[in-house]
């Protein structure tokens, strides 16, 4: 059997010819994301907003959202969000945090369980108080920033500062646009999305590093080749690998998205999106930036390996 080849070896696509187009497209997305972030905001889950989340399952038959709404409405607990969760039998109840008093939400849970437990099974309870949610916000921001910085240091150390700038630009690009998508679609933004963002950082960087490695290798080999042509060649040579890896990772992620259950759907969605945008940014953002930053041409004395 002859192995199937995704990309022919002599492929030569001029990736850099459309650089202006892609860079301006990305800039528009970034600006739009920032705008969305300030106008629409993020749909913070209880991890960051505090509050109570209860997942229930009807013991027999299908769940009835409006009946449940009426039932919970009588309890007078303020703003309650109710939605079907994955299956027809499952409901997700979200109660906003009303007071700054720690522990106040436990009373809410016992009230809700009392009226719900008649014909529903409680499958999950999550409560995050004001102190913990404030800490989680802080931790989340610190985590993303420190990931970006430590990676910058690593790239700087392994390559040159220009590569570091290029990689970081691509990373920030990926992170901002992913957050923008979460704002646009108003998907729940919680701790697991932060985890997904950090994994995207790792993944997108992985892609970028592979291409950069190749660019560096070509720089050593062809001392006189124009930089545009050289980067383009490196992109073409790594294209097959870039796509192969994205596809295998996507295959795994899509099966997780479809069959992994409702609880981690948001997380897998962010990851799938991250793989797509990470692949895009390594090719169309991280690499062209090197041209503008005037990278060193003579690598003969540098023993970066």
């Amino acid at each position: 059997m002859k192995p199937f080849k995704l990309i022919k070896l002599d492929t030569s696509i001029n990736f850099l010819s459309k650089t202006k187009l892609f860079v301006s497209l990305s800039l528009i997305f970034i600006i739009a994301s920032i705008f969305l972030l300030f106008s629409r905001g993020l749909n913070f889950g209880i991890d960051f907003n505090g509050g109570t989340l209860i997942e229930v399952q009807k013991i027999s038959g299908n769940a009835d959202v409006s009946e449940m709404r009426a039932r919970l409405g009588q309890l007078d607990l303020g703003n309650i969000q109710l939605q079907e969760f994955g299956k027809k039998t499952d409901l997700l109840v979200r109660v906003e945090q009303l007071s700054e008093e720690e522990g106040a939400q436990q009373a809410i849970i016992s009230k809700i369980s009392e009226v719900v437990e008649v014909d529903y099974e409680i499958r999950r309870i999550e409560v995050v108080g004001p102190k913990v949610s404030a800490e989680l916000i802080k931790k989340g921001i610190i985590a993303v920033i420190s990931a970006v910085i430590s990676v910058l240091i690593y790239i700087w150390f392994r390559f040159e500062w220009q590569f570091g700038i290029g990689a970081i630009f691509a990373l920030v690009h990926d992170i901002i646009i992913t957050i923008g998508v979460f704002s646009l679609l108003q998907l729940e933004f919680n701790l697991s999305i932060i985890a997904a963002l950090l994994t995207i950082v790792g993944y997108s960087l992985n892609d970028t590093v592979v291409i950069y490695d190749r660019i560096r290798e070509e720089l050593r080999k062809y001392k006189k080749m124009p930089i545009m042509e050289l980067i383009n060649q490196a992109l073409n040579l790594t294209l097959s690998r870039t796509l192969m890896t994205s596809i295998t990772t996507l295959l795994a992620l899509i099966s997780l998205y479809l069959f992994g259950g409702e609880v981690i759907k948001g997380f897998t969605f962010a990851m799938i999106w991250g793989v797509l945008i990470g692949t895009y940014s390594s090719i169309f953002i991280a690499s062209p930036i090197l041209i503008g930053l005037n990278i060193k041409r003579d690598w003969s004395k540098n023993n970066a390996e």
Binding site: K2, L9, G129, S146, T245, L250, L251, G260
Partner: protein
């Protein structure tokens, strides 16, 4: 790149064997494992609460309550001492954990300070120094008054002791519930993390933790005439109904004198009750007081609520008695647990709760399994279709990689959570990346008309730095995730980090080993990749 010394070959095979042996117990049921010979590894992966069901609670010890209790006592003690020494007070006021004292005659200020210093206890000083520090801070104000408050050292010592005692009491209470393997850990200065797997009724756990269970016995104030409550008495609510009781503030005996409490049934009414027994000192005290107060009422008070107020019919000399509230069987049972385990030094407040029922846990395991198997199948097929024979080598390595991840998780007894499963699935997708890098490189070398051996050799050699760079960056992200670590996320970062390490070994070293074996055996003149 294609030469493997004997030592190296044996090491590689041993690592694979190690993976197989230590991953194996996870395929067996607990029963089969118990019957295995002791020499075999028996550790299975430790499932997280989100997979096996259970409660994760982060509680905070409210030691400020104890600090203000201490200030209350001090307030009384200072007044008593001043009266005994015949020093006249102009004013004494207690606000915000401070006592402000103004004397009528400032010349006695020295005596006052001596009195306060004598009331001050020694506390443990700064951590690790082993030195003692003062409990009370005394500040003279410009207006001549004196401010007394607790020192930083005293407050942090109080907090430390409260958390230590709370952990002990919580452990006893949870052990009484009969659950297996609870985790009870101090978190930071004032918090305790409690993880209890496999609970049927998480609310019961929270009730047990939410009760301080400070039990005291008080005589009913017989002088109370319905008007103002006197200073030495207090008004308390009944726990079950609307009635109130005015009882003497000073308790005649407390829960610290209890040695045992058991649920039982009243022989006459058949109502659930709690039988209790005092220690020797408690028995004598209780005997004397009941002898002196026959015919009077006394109140059994739990956390400032009256749970029962019986008449003393006859002196109780044996040191044992019973509490008959209007309990259900479970309430009687839980009260007995609380009394046996002892009172919490300070109230606990739940800051964070994550509870997963057993049903959802089982569903998550099932969907995690399906997603892993399908994801794995897709990747295996795709790799085979893309790289033929090399794809098979990479696929075998991938399977060994998975068994290594499972083996390491089992040995470390790291917790596998649902995001952890996602981490493994992601590893499946990314582990083949190294092989893709190598195989693409070999293709390129072949197209440059290199010989088979040269092409393979170069492919591995050139891809090596790239593979390391790419994996180190993801590893950095995993480590930062671990630091962020809250329960499930930590699980994700652990599997991701382990997966990166094992996949570098399997994708780089192991496939190379397979390829080397193949080349040695059949010495191919051309390869199909």
């Amino acid at each position: 790149m294609l030469y493997f010394s004997k030592f190296k070959s044996i090491s590689i095979l041993l690592i694979c064997l190690f993976g197989a042996i230590f991953a194996f117990p996870n395929l067996l049921s607990q029963n089969t494992i118990n019957n295995l010979p002791k020499i075999m590894p028996q550790k299975q992966i430790n499932l997280g609460l989100d997979l096996r069901g259970g409660s994760h609670l982060l509680v905070e010890v409210q030691s400020s309550v104890r600090a203000s209790e201490r200030m209350d006592d001090l307030y009384d003690e200072i007044r008593i001492e001043l009266r005994r020494n015949k020093i006249l007070l102009s004013d004494i006021a207690q606000t915000n954990n401070q006592i402000k004292i103004t004397l009528s005659d400032d010349s006695f200020k020295g005596n006052l300070i001596d009195i306060i210093e004598s009331l001050s206890q020694n506390v443990r000083g700064q951590f690790g120094t082993g030195q003692l520090a003062n409990e009370l801070e005394i500040v003279e104000q410009i207006d001549g008054s004196i401010l007394v408050s607790m020192t930083e050292e005293a407050l942090s010592d109080l907090l430390r002791r409260s958390v230590d005692q709370s952990i002990e009491i919580i452990r006893r209470r949870i052990d009484e519930l009969g659950t297996k393997e609870p985790t009870i850990q101090r978190q930071g200065e004032s918090r305790i993390l409690i993880q209890v797997p496999g609970l049927d009724d998480p609310n019961r756990l929270k009730d047990l933790l939410g009760t301080t269970a400070k039990m005291t016995f008080h005589l009913i104030d017989t002088f109370y005439d319905g008007g103002n409550v006197s200073r030495s008495s207090m008004k308390l609510q009944h726990a079950e109904n609307e009635s109130t009781y005015v009882v003497e503030r000073r308790s005649i005996i407390g829960g610290e004198n209890l040695v045992d409490a058991q649920p039982g049934f009243d022989s006459q009414t058949n109502q659930p009750i709690v039988n209790f027994r005092f220690d020797g000192q408690g028995s004598r005290k209780f005997g004397k007081i009941t002898t002196d107060n026959v015919g009077k009422l006394f109140a059994i008070v739990l956390d400032n609520e009256v749970i029962s107020a019986p008449i003393i019919n006859e002196p109780i000399l044996g040191g044992s008695g019973m509490i008959s509230g209007s309990f259900t069987v479970q309430e009687a049972n839980d009260l007995a647990i609380l009394l046996r385990a002892g009172a919490l030094p300070a109230p606990l407040i739940i800051l964070e709760e994550r509870t997963v029922g057993p049903g959802l846990g089982a569903d998550s395991i099932k969907s995690g399994q399906i997603a892993s198997i399908l994801g794995l199948a897709f990747v295996l097929i795709y790799m085979f279709a893309s790289y033929g024979r090399f794809g098979i080598y990479s696929n075998i390595s991938l399977l060994i990689n998975l068994s290594l991840i499972v083996a390491i998780l089992s040995i470390l007894q790291a917790t596998l959570t649902l995001p952890g499963i996602a981490g493994i699935i992601l590893t499946i997708g990314m582990a083949v990346d190294a092989n893709v890098l190598i195989f693409e490189r070999i293709r390129e070398e072949i197209s440059n008309n290199k010989s088979v051996i040269n092409a393979i050799d170069n492919g591995y050699k050139r891809a090596r730095t790239t593979i390391l760079d790419a994996n180190i960056t993801t590893f950095i992200a995993a480590i930062i995730l671990f630091q962020l670590g809250s329960g499930p996320i930590k699980g994700f970062s652990i599997t991701l980090a382990i997966g990166i390490i094992t996949s570098v070994f399997t994708a780089f070293t192991l496939t190379r080993f397979f390829v080397a074996l193949w080349i040695k055996r059949s010495n191919p003149k051309e390869i199909n990749i």
